[in-house]
Symmetry: C2
């Protein structure tokens, strides 16, 4: 079984490989560029077969296409956002700016005053239609941008109608009774805590 | 020199250790709980001194206090957000929900219609006062939640007046001419790309 964390690192490797102009890259360079140890890079890529040649590194194009295939980005990422508040709106507008292999297909909310509003190229739809929209659009991924108290019931509905991956911003565990759904929690305060180190670091120099 | 990525993992270890009820924990358990290999955990912690005893693991309380000290959370994280739009507002309201060691002290914007508005416990201030606010409040960390075209000029101002760490949401590189400022870019589409793998994974079972 491939550890989830290895999967989470692949998009960062892919982003860098897509912009890389070289023909070959070593695990040291790929690690430095993305912030991981060269052992971690080698270990991650080894889960998916041996692409590198000892001492010569990896073929950039081949590795790029391999990661693209592993992440199944060739099918396109069909996601929806539940919660058209501040966070949901910021995400929909950001993704629409052209991350071509990720597409947000629908934006749902429960507030009658927000339903029907245009956000980017989407019109906010009612969360009542969640099951229909997942089925009609073939949605596999949902972003949970609802308040804490709404998160568990909404996530249960997502699991029941076939969504298999959830990016969860709400500060509560969801889908604990649905082992077939992969839930990735996000907490941006962890990023701020890490930055605290660098503030201190700089002061000492 | 400690790799940046090792620092970024520490808050995830700390979050788990803070909730852990056991007296001791091994690198395998800490790794499984946070999604990293046990080698990665050992390697990360070894940068800061040897806390673990081979075969017995780490003392949870001691490790927690050590990471807390390494991240300098004892001083509290004093951050500000520039850009009081959707993302900035969502962040301020979220952090205010009680992540005690991270505090957003100020929220700035350039739009006269937003300046003066109350968001959580903060009143939006004018970005004209950026330098004064950084000095008066002793701000070390800034979150960049402004549009792409405003990001570089705002980040330069932050660097010039002493901010040493920036969480950058804008899709453009900032502070490239200020090596003393640590910039952490954030791209939530990478999280969505990683989830694509899990959708495919589940379908195959
Ligand atoms: N993890 C992080 O780093 C982080 C950062 C910011 C915000 N958050 C969290 O993300 C969530 C959204 O934050 P926000 O600032 O956008 O909040 P918000 O209040 O602006 O938006 C929430 C939206 O959800 C809608 N909603 C409520 N119940 C619903 C339901 N049952 N079905 C569908 N929609 C529903 C509301 O009408 C509202 O539009 C919150 O839970 C917040 O705590 C997390
Ligand atoms: N990286 C990611 O995953 C991600 C996700 C969502 C949004 N974003 C990015 O985050 C940024 C903010 O997104 P948003 O949805 O909140 O946008 P928004 O338009 O809602 O908010 C931007 C705010 O910045 C203010 N602003 C503009 N110029 C400014 C300046 N010079 N100084 C201070 N404030 C200024 C505007 O008045 C506005 O209130 C954008 O760059 C967006 O692309 C990134």
């Amino acid at each position: 079984r491939i550890p989830d964390a290895a999967i989470r690192r692949l998009p960062a490797y892919l982003r860098w490989l897509t912009e890389c102009q070289e023909e070959r890259v070593t695990s040291v360079i790929l690690g430095q560029a993305t912030g991981y140890s060269s052992e971690q890079v080698r270990k991650d890529l080894a889960y998916f077969g041996a692409f590198g040649t000892r001492g010569v590194g990896y073929d950039v194009l081949a590795l790029r296409e391999e990661i693209y295939r592993i992440l199944r980005l060739d099918r396109g990422v069909r996601a929806m956002v539940v919660g058209a508040g501040h966070l949901g709106t910021a995400l929909v507008r950001y993704v629409a700016q052209g991350h071509q292999d990720v597409q947000i297909m629908a934006l749902l909310d429960s507030n009658p005053e927000i339903i029907g509003v245009q956000v980017g190229s989407l019109r906010v739809e009612s969360v009542e239609r969640l099951e229909d929209i997942v089925r009609e659009l073939g949605i596999g991924i949902a972003v949970l941008a609802v308040p804490k108290e709404a998160a568990v019931p909404v996530a249960d509905r997502l699991a029941e109608c076939g969504v298999r991956a959830i990016l969860n911003f709400a500060p509560v565990a969801v889908c604990t009774r649905y082992p077939e759904v992969f839930v990735q929690p996000i907490d941006l305060t962890l990023e701020l805590q890490a930055l605290s180190y660098f503030v201190g670091q700089r002061e000492r120099h």
